[in-house]
C-alpha cells in the first residue's frame, strides 16, 4: 500500500466540497478516478500533496508509506513532492511559469533534485521531451509558443522526469489527439512497468480506463459512490450513477452514423 486516503474532507467556509472520502492505492496500481465534472476529483488529488488553495480546509489523513502527509511540515512535504509524488495538473498552461522557457523548467527541476551536470540535464530533458513526441526545438520556446497538446505533453514529461513513486495525473490527455494520446499513455504504462510506480489517474475517458486502469473509483458530489477493481466496476456496476456513466460513454462504431445524426435525419 503506497497511498491511503482516509476520510478526507475538504471544505471552504460555506460548504463541504469533498466529503469523507477514503481510498487506497497499492504499489503498481493504475488507479483511475472517474466522476462527474466538479465532483472534487482535482481537489482531492491536490490535498495529497498539501497543494490545496489556502482558503480550503482539509480534514482526515493521507498516508503515504506510513506517513500522514497532511501532518507533515512544509519542509517535509517539500522533500516528497516531485521526487516521490509527482503532479500533472489539469491546467497544463498554468503549470508553466510564463516568462521561463520550457527547457528552463526541465533544467531547474533536475537541478533542484540534485543533477549537477548541465550536459546530462539537457540530455535527459531532451529525452523526456522526445518520449512524449515533442521535438528538441520546443526546449527553447516559451510556454505560450506551444500548442495546448504540446504543453500538456511537456507537463507530462516534466512530471515523469524523476521517476516518482506516485504520479497524480489529472486529465492529462484532454488536449491530445488519439495518436499522441495513445503514444503518451503507452509510454506511461511502460514507465510504470519499469519503475513499478503507482498512478492516480483522473479521467473522463472510458477507453483509457478500460485499457490501462486496474482499480477504479467513481466520484459524484464530493463522495466516492463506488470503487473497486476494474472488472468489477465496469462489468458489474452497482451504483446507479456508475451505470449511467458507463452507458453514456460515446463509442465509435464502425459504419454507424451517430445517434444524434440519425435523429436528425429521421
Amino acid at each position: 500500500m503506497i497511498l491511503s486516503i482516509d476520510e478526507v474532507s475538504i471544505r471552504n467556509q460555506n460548504k463541504i466540497i469533498v466529503d469523507q472520502v477514503s481510498l487506497t492505492i497499492r504499489e503498481g496500481d493504475w488507479f483511475a478516478l472517474v466522476g462527474e465534472s466538479g465532483s472534487g476529483k482535482s481537489l482531492l488529488s491536490q490535498s495529497i500533496g498539501q497543494l490545496l488553495p489556502a482558503q480550503l480546509q482539509v480534514e482526515g489523513s493521507v498516508f503515504f508509506k506510513e506517513q500522514d502527509l497532511l501532518k507533515l511540515s512544509a519542509k517535509e512535504i517539500r522533500k516528497l513532492r516531485g521526487k516521490n509524488v509527482a503532479y500533472i495538473f489539469q491546467d497544463y498552461q498554468g503549470s508553466f511559469t510564463p516568462f521561463r522557457k520550457i527547457g528552463e523548467h526541465f533544467d531547474e527541476y533536475l537541478k533542484v533534485h540534485g543533477f549537477s551536470s548541465k550536459k546530462l540535464r539537457y540530455k535527459q530533458a531532451i529525452e523526456a521531451l522526445e518520449s512524449v513526441g515533442l521535438a528538441e526545438e520546443l526546449y527553447h520556446r516559451y510556454p505560450f509558443q506551444l500548442s495546448g497538446g504540446q504543453l500538456q505533453r511537456a507537463a507530462i514529461a516534466l512530471a515523469l522526469l524523476l521517476s516518482p513513486d506516485l504520479v497524480i495525473a489529472d486529465e492529462i490527455t484532454t488536449a491530445l489527439d488519439s495518436v499522441s494520446g495513445h503514444r503518451v499513455l503507452e509510454m506511461l504504462a511502460k514507465r510504470q512497468k519499469e519503475t513499478g510506480c503507482s498512478i492516480l489517474f483522473i479521467t473522463h475517458d472510458w477507453r483509457v480506463v478500460r485499457r490501462y486502469a486496474n482499480k477504479l473509483a467513481i466520484m459524484k458530489d464530493g463522495k466516492i459512490v463506488e470503487s473497486g477493481g476494474k472488472h468489477r466496476i465496469l462489468d458489474h456496476p452497482q451504483h446507479q450513477y456508475t451505470k449511467q456513466l458507463i452507458k453514456s460513454a460515446p463509442i465509435l462504431e464502425k459504419g454507424l452514423p451517430s445517434g444524434l445524426d440519425r435523429e436528425m435525419k429521421s
Binding site: 471544505r11 467556509q13 460555506n14 497543494l51 488553495p53 489556502a54 482558503q55 480546509q57 512544509a74
Partner: protein
Amino acid sequence: MNRFAGRLLKNRKQTIQVGIALIFVVMIFIGIFYAFFILKHDPYLTNLSGRLQSMSLQHPLGTDHLGRDVFTRLLLGGQQTIGYSLLALVTAVSIGVPLGIIAGYKGGIVDRLFMRIADGFLAFPDTIVAIVLVGLLGPSISNLILAIILVKWVNYARLVRSTVLSEAQKEYILIARINGLSAGKIMKKHLFPHIVGHVLVLASLDLGKIILLISAFSYIGLGAQPPMPEWGAMLNDSRAYFQSMPELMFYPGLAIVSVVLITNMLGDYFRDRFDVKKEVNQ
C-alpha cells in the same frame, strides 16, 4: 464550529483595522468638540508673550512660535490638509488611470505618443510647474493643487500602463474582443480590476507625499498662505524649533502619519476586496 472560528478569525483583523480607524474618527470628533466648544481658541490669534508653551489644560498641545494654540490649529488644518491633498490625489488618479489604460491597451502610436508626453512631464521639475502655474494664476493653494495634479498623474498612468501591457496579452482579453466589447468596455470591465490593487497601494502612500509636497512648496512660498494652519505648512514652520521644541514638529507629523495610516489601511482593505484569491499558500 470550525467554520465559525474561521470566519471570526478572518474578521478579527478587519475588526481591528476598522476599530483603529473608528477610534481615530471618534478622537477627532471629541477633539473638535473640545477645541471649538470648550477651549474656543482663535486659531489665528497670535500672542507673542505666550509663545512656545508646553502642554497645559488650556492648551492641550501647547502653543506655537507665535503663541497660537497648536491643538486648535491642528484640527482646523486637518480639514484643509486632508481635503486638498485628497482632491489632488483623486484627480491625479482619475486622470492617470484612464490614460494609462488607454495607452497600454491601444499600443502603437497612441502608446508612443502618450509615453513621450509622460516623459515630457517627468522632465519638468515639480518646482517649475508649481512656480509657473502659481505665478500665472496667482498664489493660492488651489493653484498649487493643480500643479501637484499635473506632476502626479504621470505616475499613475505609467503604473497602470505597465500592468495593462501584460494583461492585454491574455486570452480572456482576446475573448472579450471577440465578444465585441468596445475597447472602452474592455478597459473598464476587464483591465480595471487588475490595476486597482497597485493604484490603491500607491495612492494611499501618495497622500502623505502630497501633504509633504505642499509643505515643501510652502517653504518657497507657494503653498498654503500663511496663517492657514495647513499641516504641511505647520511642519515647515516648526523646522526652526527642531532642537528647542521638537514636539512642535511632532504633532503635525503625527497627524499626517495617522491620516496616511488610515488611508493605507483602507487602501489595503479595498485592495483585498479586489484580490479574489485572498490568501497566499504558505
